[in-house]
């Protein structure tokens, strides 16, 4: 590949050299993502939207992954619970300890509710034991939900402080050994936040040895180091500072700051300050990565939105002001698919993409045949006519559906985020849209370079008269190009429906940005659109924290106007004599 770059540079063809360099960069980034993401995903935790846990008696009792000798209860779980709620306070402590030895999955919610004061019972035989969480009440043993509990005669199961602290340590122990890595991490974080005591230290040391998730291990290290920071011996404190150097937890930073200011030993203070600097450095690095990622994600959205426009403008010299509305139609198609097939939400996006492509493609072809064809050679009039069509489409959608936004739900597999560390978290939706955008780009590139339609499109855009005299039906090519560009806009709408509100005004929000991408990138080359979209996205994201969203847009515009001074036709203008008009 380097050879290609060298050859391109030596022949003086800057455009081709730039293309090769961009290709190299993209391949490198993809390789990096390909290796890094699975490695990171191993230890990172996937968070799905929280759902209420429903317990059912029919589930098998799940075993924890602790290898110590936990014996089965001698008395069944349910009976123990009945005894617990009816016993007196002193007996309750012993019963709780007994219960804690079980591995029943209803145990943790029950004990948590008891500790927080949400466990209630009545005087029936056997007594009803329920957990109240706000307005929702459900049976602790059967999971059954109640809406109206006034007839049950419930009263709270009382606890005292002694019992509460016992419950807290038992729960910590149980959570530390839980199967779900999320729960374990949360448990350690609670220790970090609330402070660690002798008992918890012993538990965590025990856990540290057998823990296999590096994220939880890191949190345990932090918790232990925070404990050691309070030790009397300055060497222990120095060691603790060294451990905390690598931690990104907020509490670590707070503890280090107070040590840096208040510690008796100057060496420890110095070490703490150095550790703080190191942490700041790491945080800025990860923030930078996050900005870059969000910039690329915004860039991929701009790419999807603008690439259809670039294709039609490149071939026909027509700026399609209705492009935003075609994106909107694509988004509405997604909503329509979800409404028509409510049981197939998981597959809705896969159905919506071809559907949106076909529908918007047909709309585009209709526009071309009905209106734009007659305005050939008059680009300004075409601009106005397509603007009129955009108004009609907007109002049609407003009248047919309502002027209010439509709700489009996201499938399960697209929601959630990759939490790489406390500072950097990558939402799956944006990641998938980034990948999807690049995929669409690659497909379009293939169509343009390898198919016969692509060949004809390129011929017509370079020199229409010559192409016609060689037998290319240029009016058919025009219609197909418009259909292709519109279809891609529809696909962009499907992607956009996942991250933004779907309403009749969706198109207006993205049309000006699409124009900017086309003007900046030029229309000679699809790569131009890619580079321009990605750079505009990244620049916008870099400016946003300093200037605010609106001012960032204004600045980008001003920079664009100045950029056009140097290159009036964009980064990758069309080549050829016929393109000079």
């Amino acid at each position: 590949m380097n050879l290609l770059v060298h050859r391109a540079l030596s022949t003086g063809d800057k455009g081709a050299a730039l293309q090769q360099i961009v290709r190299l960069v993209i391949v490198a980034v993809l390789m990096l993502l390909g290796t890094a993401v699975p490695a990171v995903a191993d230890e990172a935790v996937v968070r799905s939207p929280a759902e209420p846990q429903e317990t059912s008696v029919d589930d098998n009792r799940r075993r924890g992954d602790v290898t110590d000798s936990s014996t089965e209860l001698t008395v069944p779980f349910d009976d123990l619970v009945y005894q617990l709620v009816q016993a007196s306070l002193p007996q309750r402590a012993a019963l709780v300890r007994e219960l804690a030895r079980s591995r029943d999955e209803r145990l943790i919610p029950l004990l948590t509710a008891l500790q927080e004061g949400n466990l209630q019972t009545n005087r029936e035989v056997p007594p009803r034991v329920v957990i109240r969480q706000g307005n929702v009440t459900h049976d602790a043993l059967t999971g059954e939900e109640f809406t109206d509990v006034s007839h049950l005669g419930l009263r709270r199961v009382p606890v005292n402080n002694q019992l509460r602290s016992l419950l807290r340590s038992l729960l910590a122990q149980l959570n530390l050994h839980h199967e779900d890595v999320n729960v374990r991490y949360d448990a350690v974080r609670r220790f970090i936040r609330d402070g660690v005591d002798q008992e918890s230290i012993a538990l965590m040391r025990e856990r540290q040895v057998i823990e296999d998730s590096s994220r939880v291990r890191g949190a345990i290290d932090t918790a232990l180091a925070l404990y050691h920071l309070q030790s009397g011996d300055s060497d222990t404190r120095l060691e603790a500072v060294a451990v905390l150097r690598g931690s990104l937890e907020k509490e670590a930073r707070n503890a280090l700051t107070s040590v840096a200011n208040n510690d008796g030993d100057p060496d420890v203070r110095l070490a703490a300050r150095a550790a703080l600097d190191a942490i700041e450095g790491r945080i800025s690095f990860f923030r930078g990565v996050e900005t870059l990622f969000f910039g690329l994600s915004l860039g991929s959205i701009l790419l999807l939105a603008a690439i259809g426009l670039a294709i039609t403008f490149g071939v026909m010299g027509v700026i399609n002001m209705a492009h935003g509305e075609l994106i909107m139609i694509g988004a509405y198609t997604t909503w329509g698919v979800q409404v028509l097939f409510p049981s197939l939400i998981e597959w809705s996006l896969f159905i919506a993409v071809p559907a949106a492509f076909v529908i918007t493609g047909l709309v585009g072809i209709a526009m071309e045949r009905g209106v734009i064809r007659f305005l050939y050679g008059r680009p300004l009039e075409t601009l106005l006519a397509t603007f009129g069509i955009s108004l009609i489409l907007q109002q049609a959608v407003r009248t047919l559906f309502s002027p209010l936004n439509r709700s489009v739900s996201s499938p399960e597999w697209i929601s959630g985020a990759l939490n790489i560390n406390p500072v950097l978290s990558i939402t799956y939706t944006r990641l998938y849209i980034l990948v999807f955008g690049l995929l669409v780009f690659v497909v379009l590139l293939t169509v343009m370079k390898k198919t016969s339609l692509g060949l004809k499109v390129r011929a017509v855009s370079q020199n229409r008269a010559m192409a016609r005299s060689l037998g290319v039906r240029s009016s058919w090519v025009d219609a197909m190009t418009f259909g292709l560009g519109s279809g891609v806009a529809g696909i962009a709408g499907v992607a956009l429906s996942q991250i933004t509100n779907v309403g009749p005004n969706l198109g207006q929000a993205y049309i000006i940005d699409s124009f900017m991408v086309v003007v900046f990138g030029g229309v000679g080359n699809l790569w131009g659109t890619l580079v321009s979209a990605m750079s505009l996205g990244v620049i916008n994201n870099i400016l946003e924290p300093y200037a605010g969203a609106m001012l960032a847009k204004v600045l980008v515009l001003v920079m664009l106007i100045l950029f056009i001074q140097k290159k009036p036709r964009g980064l990758f203008p069309q080549k050829g004599r016929a393109a000079s008009d």
Partner: protein, 364 residues
């Protein structure tokens, strides 16, 4: 002779101008002199409405000047209109004085809400009318000068130029929406009390503003005719028809385009300045790209390249809009959209073209 050059050789223009003059004289008289129950009485609603239309007509004139005669399509002329409007609005705001909600002598209400202590530097001087008039002319002119210089020097034309002007007005809209800019944020400037010492809500003032708009329109039209029939006008038309050829013939195409663009921006600014006292409010929505594109459709409907066609188009489309938005608001956008499509497809010469064709047929 000047009158021949300006009017007699332009039958359509003379007709339209006469109509405007009649309206400018008659309507205020009918509004002020006749009692309210007379059948010929013109209500203050109508006076304000037609006054607005007169300002819109001036704006359309400015767009036709550069589009019809120089081939420069600007989809952002609303920006100059709004700038002129904001300048006038700032003057009117200063005139409120202690009669605002917060009763501060110098600061406007929204500044008090923002906890500002002093008037920002760019608000200084707006309590004087002559300064305001200067700014109404200068602010759009400066923006047009800078923007036009950058654009024309880089030979940005046609569709690219249209898009860039769109983006310009959009960016200005975003900027003026920010409260920190000091122009009232998304509420804009409103609640005006008096102009030049007269209470702005009286019928007399309303009529005077109407007359002022009418006179501005007529003077603007005559000025445009003067330009268009002069030697400069000939060069500009040739720039529209064959830009490269004109450049190679030795004319400095960029200068001609630039100065025409600046003049047109000033016209638009004056239109905006006369518009604001009549409607009583200016807000960032005036910068919206849709407004600028609507202006272009007025010109296209009326008939571009004829100057008086722009005036006809402005009145025609705006009357239609008023009709539809009161009778059936949902259909207005359909009508507007179809208007765009039909006018570009079927009526390239607009209403004026239809009238011309009819007249031509009658002659035969």
């Amino acid at each position: 002779m000047l009158s021949h050059r300006l009017l007699t050789s332009d039958k359509g223009g003379a007709l339209v101008l006469t109509l405007v003059a009649l309206a400018t004289i008659l309507l205020p008289l009918l509004h002020l002199v006749l009692p309210a129950d007379s059948p010929f009485h013109v209500s203050s609603y109508s006076v304000t409405l037609v006054g607005k239309f007169l300002c819109f007509a001036l704006l359309a004139l400015s767009v036709d000047l550069i589009w019809g005669y120089a081939g420069i399509l600007s989809l952002g002329h609303g920006a100059f209109f709004a700038l002129g409007g904001y300048a006038m609005g700032m003057y009117l705001m200063r005139q409120i004085g202690t009669r605002g909600v917060y009763g501060h002598a110098e600061l406007a209400d929204f500044m008090v809400i923002l906890n500002w202590d002093n008037l920002p530097w760019y608000w200084q001087g707006f309590d004087m009318f002559w300064f305001t008039v200067l700014m109404v002319i200068l602010a759009p002119a400066l923006l047009a000068l800078v923007f036009g210089w950058l654009a024309f020097r880089a030979r940005v034309t046609g569709v690219y130029f249209a898009i860039i002007t769109q983006a310009l007005t959009f960016a200005l809209m975003l900027a003026f929406f920010r409260n920190e800019m000091g122009f009232g944020g998304n509420n804009g400037l409103n609640d005006f009390k008096e102009i030049l010492g007269f209470d702005i809500t009286t019928r007399g003032v309303r009529a005077s503003l109407f007359v002022a708009s009418g006179i501005a329109l007529m003077l603007g039209y005559l000025a445009c005719r003067f330009i268009v029939t002069s030697r400069m006008g000939r060069v500009i038309i040739s720039i529209r028809d064959a830009e490269s050829r004109t450049r190679f013939s030795g004319y400095e195409v960029e200068s001609y385009k630039l100065w025409l663009f600046v003049f047109s921006a000033v016209l638009a600014g004056i239109a905006g300045a006369l518009y604001v006292p009549q409607v009583g409010i200016i807000n960032p929505g005036e910068f919206s790209p849709l407004n600028s594109i609507e202006t272009v459709v007025w010109v296209a409907t009326g008939g571009r390249g004829t100057l008086y066609g722009a005036i006809v188009g402005a009145f025609a489309v705006n009357y239609t809009k008023t009709f539809f938005t009161t009778w059936s608001p949902e259909t207005w956008l359909f009508v507007l959209g179809s208007l765009f499509v039909l006018v570009t497809l079927l009526l390239p010469k607009g209403i004026v073209g239809i009238l011309d064709r009819l007249r031509g047929r009658k002659r035969k």
